[in-house]
């Protein structure tokens, strides 16, 4: 019985795709880091949390953010979102055209949370049949979130095919 709460650090998310993650993100306090890994990212127009709102919070709270997505020059659906991320000073943007993982990590008080699953950061994902695991920053979830964050900080940027977008150079067609 003792510490059962800590043991329940993973929950299955079967509905609304990434919406629960971004609800928590919108309410989270003292966010130090956000990672978005999604091959396809749209502006989430008409969704409960639009990309503009997410980016506003990133800007307002100066949140260090890593975004991994497929290049908008290959995937036209990504163009508008890439432009929005590109303009955001605290976002480091990476393209990788082999990317297929969908992982969202938020580090905040008291520790943070992460979503790993099938949902792209798109409007369709909130209505399609997606499954994910929401990991809370408690018990063993703390280590899991740390490992996921390490993947985004050290592994993914150094994978073959990953290109860090040069913000000084502007968005250019390749």
């Amino acid at each position: 019985m003792k510490n059962e709460w800590e043991h329940n650090y993973v929950k299955i998310v079967q509905e609304r795709g990434h919406e629960d993650f971004f609800l928590r993100f919108s309410l989270a306090h003292k966010i130090t880091h956000l990672t978005i890994i999604s091959p396809w990212i749209t502006t989430l127009k008409d969704e409960q949390y639009t990309l503009n709102e997410i980016i506003k919070k990133i800007n307002d709270e100066n949140i260090e953010t890593l975004v991994f997505m497929r290049s908008p020059f290959k995937e036209k659906h990504n163009m508008d979102s890439a432009e929005l991320f590109f303009k955001c000073p605290t976002v480091t943007l990476y393209y990788n055209d082999e990317l297929h993982a969908k992982v969202y990590i938020c580090r905040c008080e008291p520790f943070g949370f992460a979503l790993v699953g099938s949902a792209n950061l798109s409007g369709r994902a909130t209505r399609a049949h997606e499954i994910g695991l929401m990991i809370d920053g408690k018990g063993k979830g703390i280590d899991t979130i740390k490992e996921l964050q390490n993947l985004s900080l050290h592994d993914l940027p150094n994978r073959s095919g990953t290109i860090k977008v040069d913000k000084q150079g502007g968005m250019k067609w390749k």
């Binding site: 059962e4 709460w5 609800l23 928590r24 989270a28 709102e53």
Partner: protein
């Protein structure tokens, strides 16, 4: 007293029958981070100086305390009129629905505003006006007409005549007067004709002018304006076809020449995009509140910050418990049961470690960081301890071990 014979009120030494905080009855209290409350009150006090009446809003998700905040404002306006010189009137905008007759357009909102005022209030204003020094010399309707300024001449004259005819003396039914005030289409009424009413309220502008004129009279009689505290204003997200008239009516209320009728909206939502488009776009209303889309938080305060840190949450829990526990009664009960070493009177039936654990658990998940969730969890745990105590006929202390079973899925 044996535990099996206690009710929950005795078991938890509550100063009420149930473990509940009522927005209206408990309006005097305001829990959570003081800074949010201070910022809201500062905005309201500044609005009194700059705009004559408050013109601002609050927003937050379900359970963040929007309704309680409005009732708290009402309490403050009534208890400290020198600081907050306005008559507070609460109304609920929901349910706005354009597919249901009678639940849409400005007329619907206007009706809610008039209902919030009520007959007694309008009578009080009319009779107060009639009793003012100097106003007894002429016809009341003529005197009112001299003092009101919103709307065309026919509207002002009709309103003055109607107020004088129906609300000064208690001699006839005000049904027709209310129908006219609410903007109902009255084809021919000898009663209203006799009273000197010349026109119907044809447009949203006419209806709003009636409200603004009543605000002016309130200022004259009471030396204070009117503030509509509008709950569930996210309902305005449903405004589609009637957007132009509703936007324009709010714009008129926001105009600087209206310094007698104010508003504090409460919207559901997170982030400032939650503000209904009919209010925020175009941004001419916002600009009259002294803000733009980029600094809208100056006029619309986000209640999310009421409980944003772990310290806020623990303080909130302590404030709730100490407000609803009768500590003298609790001290006596602890002595009677000889458990003074286990519980503090202002935390009964929770131990300190249980409250710490509860704070930790609830703080971990952001959607739990709100007033309603915290109060409901405290109430649920108190009831569980009480039920177990009654079954075992012994006082069950809600310690960390006891609450663990209930918090495991939170």
């Amino acid at each position: 007293m044996e535990v099996k014979n206690m009710d929950l009120k005795d078991y938890c030494c509550l100063n009420r029958n149930r473990f509940v905080i009522d927005p209206e009855l408990d309006a005097e209290w305001y829990f959570g981070n003081r800074q949010v409350n201070d910022e809201l009150l500062m905005r309201i006090r500044n609005d009194f100086l700059v705009r004559g009446v408050p013109k601002c809003g609050i927003l937050g998700r379900f359970g963040y305390g929007k309704t309680h905040t409005l009732y708290h404002l009402k309490y403050l306006f009534k208890s400290e009129p020198e600081l907050y010189p306005a008559v507070p009137l609460i109304l609920r905008i929901a349910p706005y629905d354009e597919s249901t007759p009678g639940l849409n357009g400005w007329k619907y909102i206007h009706g809610k505003m008039l209902d919030a005022m009520g007959e007694n209030f309008i009578r009080e204003i009319v009779r107060g006006f009639n009793s003012l020094p100097g106003s007894g010399t002429g016809e009341l309707s003529t005197e009112i007409l001299k003092k009101i300024r919103f709307g065309d001449e026919n509207l002002k004259s009709s309103l003055s005549s109607l107020l004088a005819a129906y609300f000064l003396r208690d001699v006839k039914s005000t049904m027709s007067a209310w129908q006219w005030l609410k903007g109902d289409k009255i084809s021919k009424s000898s009663e209203l004709d006799d009273a000197g009413v010349k026109k119907n309220l044809d447009t949203a502008g006419d209806m709003l002018n009636v409200i603004l004129n009543l605000g002016s009279l309130t200022r004259i009689v009471k030396g204070a304006g009117i503030v509509f505290l509008m709950d569930e204003a996210q309902s305005l997200n449903e405004v589609k076809k009637r957007a132009i008239e509703i936007h324009d009516a709010f714009l008129q209320m926001a105009e600087p020449d209206n310094s007698d009728v104010g508003f504090v909206f409460a919207y559901f939502g997170t982030g400032l995009n939650a503000i209904p488009k009919v209010f925020s776009t175009p941004d001419d209303i916002l600009s009259r509140l002294g803000v733009t889309q980029t600094n809208i938080q100056v006029a619309i305060k986000d209640l999310q910050r009421l409980i944003s840190t772990k310290k806020d949450m623990r303080e909130f829990i302590d404030q709730v418990l100490s407000s609803i526990i009768d500590s003298e009664k609790a001290e006596n009960l602890l002595k009677e049961l000889s458990i003074e070493d286990k519980l503090k009177p202002n935390q009964i039936p929770f131990t300190e470690d249980a409250l710490e654990r509860l704070t930790q658990v609830m703080y971990e998940k952001e959607p739990n960081r709100n007033a309603r969730m915290i109060i409901q969890t405290l109430a649920q745990l108190s009831a569980e301890a009480y039920q177990k105590g009654k079954r075992e006929n012994g006082y069950i202390v809600a310690d960390s071990e006891f609450i663990e079973r209930f918090v495991r899925d939170m």
